[in-house]
Symmetry: C2
Subunit: 360 residues, 2 copies
């Protein structure tokens, strides 16, 4: 039995450029059936949240251009619960809008905000953790973030330094840190005091509104002007006119790093942000040669440690490849060592410079 | 002014499996616009021969399955001049049929037999060489093969050892040799006595028929039974019934290595048999990184000595590849070091074993 005051905001407006060309601007990462299970990452996120929030309280925020994809993949979501951003402005404006929208529907609402493109492998643990988080934010004046106990000196994530424990597995946040270098990441891992920042948040709608008012006044005041339109047919026009005026900034930077009532719940539900090919490789089943074949047919010889990501029934025949990403998406093929994957964004830029939007 | 007794047989029934998957069974190498010039290798072969043989004397021999491709690519060739083999039987049966067919049309005919999938870069030299060859075989009881002076110790070709010169650039053949190993190829190159066997032949139709009768009696007698049908509507039925009964054997092995009246004309018209990816690489213009981009769009970083062969407007983005073949043909992608290209045939077999004919 889910609580009717509990809401969920699934953010799915990202373009997933780190997974180009497997992820394309017209079909980014969250809309892809990454593991060949028949469900996209967005659909898996939706399925997971159904056990903790009433279906009619699930709201999706995405970019206008992805509205058809969201409707296609989540046919159970009513159009009134798909919030369409007319511009990309990072997470703070997205969350500010969603909080105003939800608070208008239900002033007592509590809410979970979650990305749509992460991997979570233990659904039952997820459910337990989220229910605990809801109970905490409903009984405390708190902004809660979910922290993951690190298992390796990962340099691709932000970290949260924990303070005193104030409840079962819930601790005060001491600091948020940027992505560390390798040395620092090892210190973090050793110390036991640092957790990965998952980007999944829980709070009361009223609490995040209050925090935005205090720490992100520019954004907050834009959405305050809309009071009266949220949940009405006038909402869309208001957003079209005003959303693009928000600055693009993350909720971490705009609020979480500044607020004093920030807490972390330490969770362990098989999380990975799938932020990089290497992360995907690490989280995918490998064949005996250590190759990951993402959803495709591969015949490989003398090839190890590769990740093959190809759409459809295409056959890849590879000889003598070690630790490469091979990603094929119809009209683009990428072949790149895993160790060079941070350069993919530059490659996307070069492709854009040379051929315009054709291959993005 | 071309001589009306001169004929040409263009052989284009091969499946080009060494260039898989760029060359596929439904569109083998000879039908591909390999150099992005707008003309396939077959069309280039046809264009070249027009200057030495009357257009109406050009005959194409191919497999039945490729009839539509030949008609599409060579619309000027009348159906009566496309000989359709109902089975693959190597070059000796092909040539035996063509010789009987042509001899029936013109008992005085002389003919050039040429593959359709080689590269020849100097058309004017080609024309001069072929005219000289025709004159020789029309005035001598001779089987003439064209020999190419070797420029490197190539192990992929057969060699011809030359004997005494009996005319300007025309010599008696001492022996044909199989493909040599590297050491032997170097000896051949040093000696100046060995030429590459181009697989282009000239002779009178009557001379090759006589040689077949002497050295390949089994094949010869099959085609002798057809006397009276060649050039008539009954020819096709006769071939359907009898051609498959021929053994599959090359003209080199069946006749050239055995006959005593074999001569070689030493030619120099920029020939390459395009038998391997490396041969194609060696004969294609390279960009400043030493990459060959066969007809496709490539953005390459830290990549050298590769050959990218991709159909259509596909974009390839590559990082950190040295001396690879990257061949994409819609539903198959091959990535293989150039040094391992002799293994491609095995790969094709593996693909067949695993997925049937789908990717051949």
């Amino acid at each position: 039995m889910t609580d009717r005051h509990r809401y969920c905001v699934i953010m799915c407006g990202g373009i997933g450029s780190r997974f180009w060309p497997y992820s394309r601007t017209d079909r980014p990462k969250q809309f892809i059936d990454f593991f060949g299970t028949g469900r996209s990452l967005l659909q898996m996120s939706y399925d997971r949240i159904l056990s903790v929030v009433p279906a009619e309280n699930i709201i999706v925020v995405t970019n206008t251009v992805y509205a058809p994809l969201v409707r296609e993949q989540l046919p159970d979501i009513d159009n009134s619960r798909i919030l369409l951003e007319p511009a990309r402005r990072n997470t703070a404006p997205c969350i500010a809008w969603a909080a105003h929208h939800i608070a208008a529907l239900d002033p007592e609402a509590s809410m979970i905000v979650t990305p749509s493109d992460h991997l979570i492998t233990r659904d039952k643990e997820f459910e337990t953790s989220i229910l605990k988080g809801f109970e905490f934010v409903e009984s405390h004046d708190a902004l809660l973030t979910l922290g993951i106990r690190p298992t390796r000196p990962e340099t691709g994530y932000g970290y949260i330094q924990i303070g005193r424990e104030i409840g079962d597995g819930i601790l005060k946040v001491k600091t948020f840190t940027e992505k560390p270098n390798r040395e620092l990441a090892e210190v973090f891992l050793e110390s036991g005091e640092f957790f990965w920042n998952s980007g999944i948040f829980l709070w009361k709608a009223s609490a995040i509104k209050k925090a935005l008012a205090e720490h992100a006044g520019d954004i907050y005041s834009i959405f305050e002007q809309g009071n009266g339109v949220y949940g009405t047919p006038a909402e869309n026009d208001f957003i079209q006119a005003n959303f693009p005026g928000c600055m693009g900034i993350s909720i971490d930077f705009a609020v979480m790093e500044k607020a004093s009532n920030v807490y972390v719940e330490c969770v362990d539900f098989g999380w990975n942000d799938l932020g990089t090919w290497s992360a995907l490789y690490d989280n995918s089943p490998r064949n005996r040669d250590g190759n990951v074949t993402q959803n495709c047919r591969v015949i490989a010889y003398n090839s190890h440690g590769n990740i093959f990501a190809v759409s459809g029934e295409k056959l890849i025949v590879a000889e003598g490849l070690e630790n490469y990403i091979i990603a094929d998406a119809g009209d683009v093929l990428l072949i790149c060592p895993k160790s060079e994957e941070q350069r993919i964004k530059l490659m996307v830029n070069d492709a854009k410079e040379k051929y315009g939007d054709k291959y993005l």
